[in-house]
Symmetry: C2
Subunit: 187 residues, 2 copies
């Protein structure tokens, strides 16, 4: 019989395996995750505060992490026009290159060895578990914009779509990015 804690131990060990080992690139795991986050986040979510929510960390930690990414020239900070307290963080050319050049980990390779069917099943189960855990902790999903309950496709006031929560126009490219406000449809 498989207990929840056994599965969790597997997840933790796999996570640790992914984090360790490929440490020769002078970038630690949180920095990679942060870089990947900013690359996939939409314009409402490209901020220190959103990354803080995503990682489940504290503001102070995230501020430092972003500072070291900035020192390495991978990321650029910009004061937002609408709200002059807010900061928008964007990848530099060098940051994009760094992310694109990231080699697959041993875990990636092992996953590639599964059949497409098994991998799909695995992904579905993990998504379900992640959703459940996030809801238990009152955390956001950070899913794709177009899968959000507030996403209005081809709305008359949109360009061409629209966010019903923030009341902002959305382009096709926006719809494929992750958002800190995203809420799945059937909850």
């Amino acid at each position: 019989m498989k207990k929840p804690s056994d599965i969790n131990a597997l997840i933790e060990r796999l996570g640790r395996l992914g984090r360790s080992g490929r440490g020769e690139d002078a970038m630690n795991p949180v920095q990679w995750e942060s870089l990947a986050y900013f690359a996939r986040a939409n314009r409402f979510s490209r901020s220190p505060g959103a990354l803080t929510e995503y990682l489940g960390a504290t503001k102070g930690t995230v501020s430092q992490t972003i500072n070291s990414l900035e020192r390495k020239g991978l990321v650029r900070k910009r004061v937002a026009a609408e709200d002059r307290r807010a900061i928008s963080v964007d990848l530099t050319r060098s940051g994009e290159k760094m992310l694109a050049a990231k080699p697959p980990s041993a875990v990636d390779d092992a996953l590639a060895g599964l059949s497409a069917v098994e991998r799909r099943q695995l992904g579905r189960s993990l998504e379900k578990v992640l959703s459940g855990a996030l809801e238990r902790r009152d955390m956001q999903h950070f899913g794709l914009c177009r899968t959000c309950r507030f996403f209005q496709r081809n709305h008359k006031d949109g360009d061409p779509h629209r966010c019903g929560l923030l009341e902002e126009p959305l382009r096709d490219s926006d719809a494929e990015l992750i958002c800190r406000e995203q809420t799945p449809k059937n909850t």
Copy 2:
């Protein structure tokens, strides 16, 4: 289409979720994992070196981690009789209590919400991925003694079983612990 890197991202996010949040207990994740390791490791594996292999860390880091567990009175070090360089690490009563009192995480709870069938399938897939990744990295499995290719059940020289690699007798309780030398049967 689900890419390996997408699944890996899910695993990393779940791992992070498990690590964060329950930080009020004055024990960080590596310390928990180390404590849990020593509770489940057999007498050949209850050493700093074995934990180092298990975690995929370096000797220095692990030495420090064990030191902080010792400072907290959760663990006790003892020089091994057979090899006076080697150290055996055992949980104290207080360490056992601490481990037993660990509350389930949000991820545990979410896993408990899956059906038994789905959880079993998930466990099986994760085990497969873990095995594959470990082999790619030339790391040990740390599986149960009784599932090892060197485990000899009811061997005449054993008590009642025997390890064919280390040539040591094994009790029933030993067979249910994890071992740094464990190698699955069909590899």
